[in-house]
């Protein structure tokens, strides 16, 4: 089973040289720490920056430089700043190559729910609906099951949707799975120490298992 850092490390393996990437809040933000140093990628922050750098030192904190999670950040050499409309223009027009975000539920058709729990939590969708509606490639970082053990990989989402048929790949604490164009979660890799049966039991939606499923390699 993977912890949050394990999920972030596995997702970092999906990053390719030359990509422009938008990282959501939470586990997706951690992915930046595990992108190989020799790879040239540019991180987009939807509040108006291309080229997010590492967190600042105590001395170099600048309140005018934050990421979408409102954390203080720095800029990489060669960064560009812009307004919020321009930020979503580049997202909407498909210029961002990879979007990594969290989810509360994903359906076997690739629908995603991550912004609202009726009666309990209404924080708003932020930029998530814009991102999932337009991104070419969406990877979701999530827990396979709720704390109570209920599957979050479902036939159909029960929570209000963020977007339709948009998730391409899921990295959970138990597995790596692709969402197939005609529906279904195709099991690609098992987390260290996790059996195929455990993944079967934790997946409510249609699970497709083709041949031997390798254990993922996390360095």
């Amino acid at each position: 089973m993977l912890d949050k850092i394990g999920i972030a490390k596995r997702i970092a393996q999906e990053v390719k040289d030359g990509m422009y990437i938008n990282l959501g809040i939470g586990i997706p933000t951690l992915v930046a720490n595990y992108i190989p140093k020799n790879m040239n990628v540019v991180l987009q922050s939807e509040n108006g920056l291309l080229g997010i750098g590492p967190f600042p030192t105590e001395e170099s904190i600048d309140p005018d430089l934050i990421n979408a999670g409102k954390q203080t950040i720095t800029m990489m050499p060669g960064s560009a700043l812009f307004n919020s409309a321009e930020s979503f223009a580049m997202i909407r027009s498909g210029k961002v190559d990879l979007t990594i975000l969290g989810a509360m539920e994903v359906s076997e058709l690739g629908d995603i729910a991550n912004w609202k729990v009726p009666g309990k939590m209404v924080k708003g969708m932020g930029g998530a609906m814009d991102l999932v509606a337009s991104a070419k490639n969406i990877i979701v970082a999530m827990q396979h099951c709720s704390k109570e053990g209920a599957s979050k990989l479902l036939r159909k989402c029960t929570l209000p949707l963020t977007g339709l048929r948009c998730v391409k790949r899921i990295v959970s604490d138990l597995a790596v799975l692709d969402v197939l164009p005609l529906g279904g979660f195709r099991l690609l890799e098992r987390a260290p120490g996790v059996t195929v049966d455990e993944i079967k039991n934790a997946t409510e939606g249609k699970l497709i298992i083709d041949g031997e499923i390798p254990e993922m390699v996390i360095i």
Binding site: N47, P63, T72, S84, M125, M129, A133
Partner: protein, 231 residues
């Protein structure tokens, strides 16, 4: 050049009537018009509809205006950092309209650009689509969204000149230039007010034509929501 300078925040906002529609710049607490928010608290104006990406935190930014019950309605994309907000929302005291962030930005841009409506894919198949015209373009579905405009747009810039040209700094730019263009009256508070001719015309983010009143603010706190440092 036309002189847009007013004395201070109190003078800049003094004619905002009850029940006005305001736009307030900023993302989280980054790039918010601190001086004007303080002046609005002092003025006691009420029944406001506030268009702003977020609603501040309990004791800073728009959160302060919620506490004094000056806000009737919030139009935002994300309001997660504010307990008082959540309380007023759940009790029905506050009306809230949540809009996807890119749609919010583009609706404000459209308002400032004289474009009454546009189509965007954000929200297709979700509750955001309820009551909206949906149309297919090149095999993909889009929703029609309409422009947003304000009686008063209140923005914060880094530098400005006396004719209203503005330059923003870092990610404090965010919604500010969009809102500056979408106000019937646009008020700009700046950290540094300079004479005309001092700002490089190549580097102006908001041309002065959009700005009606400008003043140099004071005592900027620039509070940080998530102070995060390298380990």
């Amino acid at each position: 050049m036309i002189n847009k300078v007013v004395k201070n925040a109190d003078e800049a906002i003094k004619d905002i009537p009850d029940n006005s529609v305001l736009m307030l710049g900023g993302f989280g607490l980054c790039g918010i018009p601190e001086n004007c928010i303080a002046a609005i608290l002092r003025s006691g104006v009420k029944g406001l509809t506030c268009i702003s990406n977020n609603a501040g935190v309990d004791d800073f930014g728009i959160g302060l205006m919620l506490k004094t019950r000056q806000v009737k309605k919030m139009i935002s994309s994300y309001v997660g950092e504010n307990g008082e907000f959540e309380r007023q929302l759940l009790s029905g005291e506050l009306e809230v309209e949540l809009i996807p962030q890119g749609t919010l930005a583009e609706r404000i841009r459209a308002g400032g650009a004289g474009i009454p409506a546009f189509f965007t894919p954000a929200g297709v198949g979700t509750e955001v689509a309820n009551g909206k015209e949906a149309r297919e373009f090149d095999g993909k579905m889009y929703l029609m969204e309409t422009w947003l405009r304000a009686d008063f747009s209140i923005v914060k810039a880094w530098k400005g000149d006396t004719s209203g040209n503005l330059v923003y700094r870092g990610t404090a730019r965010n919604f500010n230039p969009l809102m500056a263009s979408a106000g019937t009256i646009t008020i700009a508070e700046v950290e540094e007010l300079v004479p005309v001719g001092e700002l490089d015309p190549n580097a102006i983010h908001t041309p002065g034509i959009y700005v009606h009143r400008i003043f140099q603010g004071s005592n900027y706190e620039k509070r940080i929501e998530q102070r995060t440092v390298r380990k």
